[in-house]
């Protein structure tokens, strides 16, 4: 194989996802000029904020060698509990938000304990939590959405920092935090070690239980945060929200180049993955393509991304 082809292949395997993203954006910008306006870009970012926050956590979990199917249900549970404390005349904004985060953290911690200490399979544990948390949300609300929230509750989801919506700020902050932790701290290095070879990490003196517990707890908290942002934006919380969010998060992570078997991956890749899905949805919306077709396209992108990733590795 000529060296130039080999170099191109190596470049593509590392940056392919970003190239694909730029290409996609370019195509859509040409087909539909209103696509590349600042207001639409902000729109896209806002649309992916909620799932993006969750995807950051999912990245950590998958790199650590696990999986978390319960994120969507945790979003619902934390949202209904928090909003139930946010009726007009009730507590300050801070309390519901704090409670929502704690609910998310608590669910994540339970996941983490069962997986790390009891050594149960992540798929099964988080599947159980997914079902149970959803059930708890339904029980808590008797199946009815929580509405009639105090106006101040809208600040989180509807507020702005200058021109930029608060959800986007929060999302970007979480992304930066995630990049910092994963790539610049000892903890992050240990996450890669546990995901790459847990036994070897244990022999090397790493407290693998603590690392495993942490990534699930963090993801639970992030799911709680996502629940806050979401319920604050739509000013209500139905116990049915968040369904399918786990798959969206996993899709973003996988498209972004993280391997489901653990040990490799980046937050930047996940964000690129989330953006590709977000851009695709937004672009197709502008072209008036039905959301059912959008789902088909999303599925195709996932498969294409994995195929390209597999090909680039050989």
């Amino acid at each position: 194989m000529p060296k130039s082809v080999k170099n191109a292949a190596a470049f593509f395997s590392k940056y392919g996802i970003y190239v694909a993203f730029l290409l996609l954006t370019a195509i859509l910008a040409v087909i539909s000029p209103p696509f590349l306006t600042p207001s639409n870009i902000i729109n896209i970012l806002r649309q992916i904020s909620v799932n993006g926050i969750i995807a950051v956590g999912m990245t950590l979990v998958i790199i650590a060698g696990g999986i978390d199917l319960s994120v969507g249900s945790i979003v619902a549970l934390s949202a209904v509990v928090a909003t139930s404390l946010a009726h007009p005349g009730e507590h300050m904004l801070v309390l519901p938000l704090l409670v929502g985060l704690l609910v998310g953290l608590g669910c994540g911690a339970i996941n983490g304990l069962l997986i790390a200490k009891r050594k149960l399979a992540p798929f099964i544990v988080t599947l159980g939590m997914m079902t149970a948390a959803r059930g708890m949300a339904l029980v808590y609300t008797s199946g009815r959405p929580v509405i009639n929230l105090s106006d101040s509750y809208a600040q989180l989801g509807g507020g702005y920092l200058g021109e930029v919506p608060l959800p986007v700020i929060i999302f970007l902050a979480i992304v930066l935090l995630g990049i910092f932790v994963l790539h610049y701290t000892r903890f992050g290095r240990y996450v890669y070690a546990v995901g790459g070879n847990e036994l070897a990490a244990q022999v090397s003196g790493i407290d693998t239980k603590r690392i495993t517990f942490s990534v699930y707890a963090i993801t639970g908290a992030l799911s709680g945060l996502a629940g806050m942002v979401l319920s604050s934006r739509v000013m209500s919380a139905s116990p049915a929200i968040g369904q399918g969010y786990e798959l969206d998060a996993i899709a973003a992570v996988v498209i972004g180049g993280t391997s489901l078997s653990g040990g490799v991956g980046t937050i930047a890749g996940t964000i690129a993955g989330a953006l590709i899905i977000g851009v695709m949805n937004n672009g197709l919306d502008m072209l008036n393509v039905s959301s059912y077709w959008q789902q088909i396209v999303k599925g195709l992108i996932i498969v294409l991304a994995v195929l390209l990733d597999r090909k680039s590795k050989h």
Binding site: Y184, R189, A193, N197, A200, V203, D207, G263, V264
Partner: protein, 511 residues
């Protein structure tokens, strides 16, 4: 071998075989002549081309140039299926049976004997045919046993039977004894002798000198993808072989360990783990290389795992530098300045998905972290480069992913990882397993240097030559108990082997 011999005198002749991969010439006009019913040993360092040559022969790769003759007839081996059909089969180093199925099911996988026209598998016939095969070659494994329950040695015997069941005339064995104990190796050799008596040629790849001279009829040496020499085994001696393989004199394989023995650094008293080992007591000193010999499965690794906090003992105490030590986890062990280089670098020693650098800094990572938990990359890189230099790890760059390194270099990465934590007591479990002669010599030099620096080395090995060459003292373990202890002056090959197999009076001292 006179040049007048015609291809038909050999069951296999490979002529002028060349094979290249992008950027590397793996084989350059290599030849191999194997006679009928002989054990032909193929030797060479890692990267010499032995595996590539055999993969071409067994149909996994396609040669770029050259010719292959089977019983005088030119053949083209385009796939593994065709190789099998032509009578060539290969038993790989990493065995991959279908674990959930039985022995006879594995042997006849793909060619099950069937009843009638619906193709129902004839289990009874399968079992009988397996029994017949086993009888011919003296294999005593239950045909109905599930593969998963078998030992490595037994799995290997099943693989051999499988090869024979394909009517193979040439059986290639790649490092068959790397996971076998001495007694099992003898059994294997017996089976090989029977194969050979039945007219089957065995091509045997190995790095183990003692075994090679025991079993070989002919030895062919490859180096850097080229054919170097081929002679009858009795016309070779170890030094010549090593020189041919490495291309230079390695000097004495085992360096002289000139270290001052200091006070006792590690004392283990009556360590017991139910069903695995009991009443293990020994002392190890500063500057000493203490060997642990014994059969595989004797419990040596388990003893070390317990000392290192990976297992919890039922009874017994461990003292480090005179003080009682509570070691409940690898972290505790590391805090007491212990290090553990395990016997399987791929599964418990390295993270194969990340770089040399990420592997090397793993144990000592705390020292590269600031108070704010942020890592210091320049410090890391400097320390890693230093270790790479000191241990002479051959990698293109510290960011190279370790799964692309050779076995010997991978082992050095594991060593580097532990050395960065500046341990006082280093446990080495089969440190030269699966690495070639040149790399072995380098590892021995490193161990000698570590001892001279005043560290305590616990050296587990199943290669007797190695234990006797490197250690100041040898403790022999048999079925979980100490069955013998020998000072260097008392080293006696027979006595040590007897102690390992617990054959009556032999030991100089019992604990």
């Amino acid at each position: 071998m006179s040049s007048e011999t015609k291809p038909a005198d050999f069951v296999l002749r490979m002529e002028n075989i060349s094979k290249s991969f992008p950027g590397i010439v793996a084989l350059d006009s290599v030849r191999l002549d194997v006679a009928k019913g002989e054990v032909h040993v193929l030797m060479g360092e890692n990267g010499a081309g032995k595996s590539t040559l055999m993969k071409i022969l067994s149909g996994i790769y396609q040669k770029d140039r050259g010719a292959i003759y089977l019983n005088g007839k030119a053949v083209e081996i385009k796939s593994t299926k065709e190789a099998l059909r032509l009578g060539i089969s290969m038993i790989h180093q990493e065995l991959n049976p279908v674990k959930a199925m039985s022995v006879s099911e594995n042997i006849f996988l793909g060619k099950e004997p069937t009843h009638g026209f619906l193709g129902v598998v004839n289990r009874k016939k399968e079992r009988e045919m397996t029994q017949a095969l086993f009888l011919d070659f003296g294999i005593s494994v239950d045909p109905d046993a599930v593969m998963e329950d078998l030992s490595v040695a037994e799995m290997q015997m099943v693989e051999i039977a499988r090869a024979v069941s394909y009517d193979s005339r040439v059986i290639i064995m790649d490092e068959p004894t790397s996971a076998l104990a001495d007694a099992e190796v003898s059994k294997l050799f017996e089976i090989i002798r029977r194969l050979v008596a039945a007219g089957i040629a065995v091509i045997y790849i190995s790095h183990k000198m003692d075994e090679i001279f025991q079993i070989a009829d002919t030895i062919t040496v490859l180096r850097d993808g080229q054919f170097i020499e081929s002679r009858a085994a009795k016309m070779f001696d170890q030094d010549t072989l090593v020189k041919l393989m490495v291309g230079r004199s390695v000097g004495e394989l085992f360096p002289e360990v000139r270290s001052q023995k200091g006070p006792v650094t590690l004392e283990v008293e009556r360590l017991t783990l139910g069903g695995v080992f009991h009443d293990v007591s020994f002392k190890a000193r500063k500057g000493e290389v203490l060997g642990f010999a014994g059969l595989m499965g004797a419990g040596r690794s388990e003893i070390m795992e317990t000392i290192f906090g990976l297992r919890k003992a039922d009874a017994g105490t461990i003292s480090v530098n005179g003080k009682a030590a509570q070691i409940r986890s690898p972290q505790d062990a590391i805090a007491h300045r212990l290090a553990f280089i395990t016997d399987d670098r791929q599964s418990t020693g390295l993270n194969m998905k990340v770089s040399v650098k990420d592997n090397i800094t793993l144990v000592a990572l705390k020292t590269f972290t600031s108070f704010t938990q942020v890592l210091r990359p320049e410090q890391e890189n400097r320390a890693v480069d230093e270790e790479i230099g000191v241990l002479q790890i051959k990698s293109r760059h510290r960011d190279q992913i370790v799964n692309t390194l050779s076995g010997g270099n991978q082992q050095k990465v594991v060593l580097a990882k532990w050395l960065l934590s500046e341990p006082e007591i280093i446990i080495l479990d089969e440190p030269t397993r699966g690495i070639d002669i040149g790399a072995k010599a380098e590892v021995y030099k490193i161990v000698a240097r570590l001892a001279e620096q005043g560290r305590t080395i616990l050296f587990i090995s199943s290669e007797l030559q190695e234990v006797m060459g490197m250690c100041d003292r040898i403790i022999v373990i048999h079925r979980g108990s100490i069955s013998g202890e020998f000072e260097r002056a008392e080293f006696d090959r027979e006595k040590i082997v007897n102690a390992a197999m617990d054959n009556g009076d032999y030991s100089a001292r019992r604990n």
